[in-house]
Symmetry: C3
């Protein structure tokens, strides 16, 4: 088991299956050289029932429930990264994430929701590789009324790359 997955285990985390999309016209991630672009990972495609998947944050769901969902999405993003590059140790840096938060009008804490993802990435990869740029935005709707969707850009170590993208 690699360094990053050992760290996941130490944090009590287990990789879920990578993102499975309902159509073949697109993919969960596409790589250009040493940069991997992940598709939006939406809460509705999370596994299990541990976290809330649908509803508006600040209305149907609390900010804390949104945080937990964002954290679960970040873990699923790592599973998708592994699927595309073979091994999480090949991640040189988390470059950027965009958090789309399905919130009620007047909600003002999209950043705190997205911290669920940022905190996890920081915990797993540490202050250098884990520290990323990001934007968080309130959206008026998401597929299936899911509460959060996150897309991401990851830098991959070229020397260690398999071509599985």
């Amino acid at each position: 088991m690699g360094r990053v997955e050992t760290r996941l285990t130490a944090l009590g985390l287990k990789l879920p299956p990578p993102l499975q999309l309902p159509s073949n016209n697109r993919t969960s991630g596409a790589r250009v050289g040493n940069v991997l672009y992940l598709s939006g990972h939406g809460a509705d495609l999370l596994d299990g029932e541990e976290v809330k998947k649908r509803g508006k944050i600040g209305g149907d769901l609390t900010e804390q429930e949104g945080y937990a969902t964002a954290r679960a999405l970040a873990l699923k993003m790592l599973a998708t990264v592994k699927h595309h590059v073979g091994e999480l140790d090949r991640v040189k840096r988390v470059v950027k994430i965009l958090g789309m938060i399905n919130a009620v009008p007047g909600f003002e804490h999209h950043n705190r929701v997205l911290n669920g993802a940022s905190d996890l990435l920081f915990e797993v990869f540490g202050p250098d590789a884990g520290c990323h740029a990001r934007s968080s935005v309130g959206v008026s709707g998401l597929v299936a009324n899911q509460c959060v969707e996150i897309e991401g850009i990851f830098e991959i170590d070229d020397a260690l790359c398999q071509d599985n993208g």
Copy 2:
């Protein structure tokens, strides 16, 4: 005529003019090395009257009308790509698109609207070069109340590049 444009013809498709922006302060596409970033292509700047340009999907417009508009936008994006790199055969891969869907509150099928673009890209470029990452998001408004706007990232074959970006 190149391979990709031959394919377009076989599909009964014809490239429209590339995106023309109303101001010189920005461009329809900017290239960094082998990556071309396209500006958001909005329905209001589509040519002709074949598809719906304005209104909220799920209210003023149906999901099917949104699909048709997204398909027309993807075709216009290809015209813009050609403008910037000279020849569509230089597209090595469609990397990622972001679909901004101007929908009524409660609309849950942004993905089906954006499939208009993804299906076209897949049909034109095939399962390797055409299979892309993407995110679809419901937005509360777009310029001119246009119904759909799509931005995209394309990988260009460096060996075949003209510097027209």
Copy 3:
């Protein structure tokens, strides 16, 4: 003083402090090779009281006030770029910006608001390096009800790069 900062002075502009984020789990900008990705720069983190920071454009704030805020945000983005690459002369090109405009339902001029940023980047860097791809989108909410948030992608001259990203 470098060429770009001399130009800023000639335009009567002064760089503010770079973006400071409230948490260490993320950074204001992350670089991959010669590409620098900036985090969303939100109006609420602007300095001083010269421009409007909070409220919905088209309701609480006018389009012109939004333009001024977007212009101030672009200037702050340049301060952040300088922080990450050491010197603004290292900017080879402004590649792309995404403007998230917190507007009232029915607002249709998100592009005119974002012109505040595009015009400044064009004035500072000129028609080659300053001409960028962009998307502007109406969002249903932003952190702290700030009126505008902008993220950006900048091409950096590798030969001139310090590793400060």
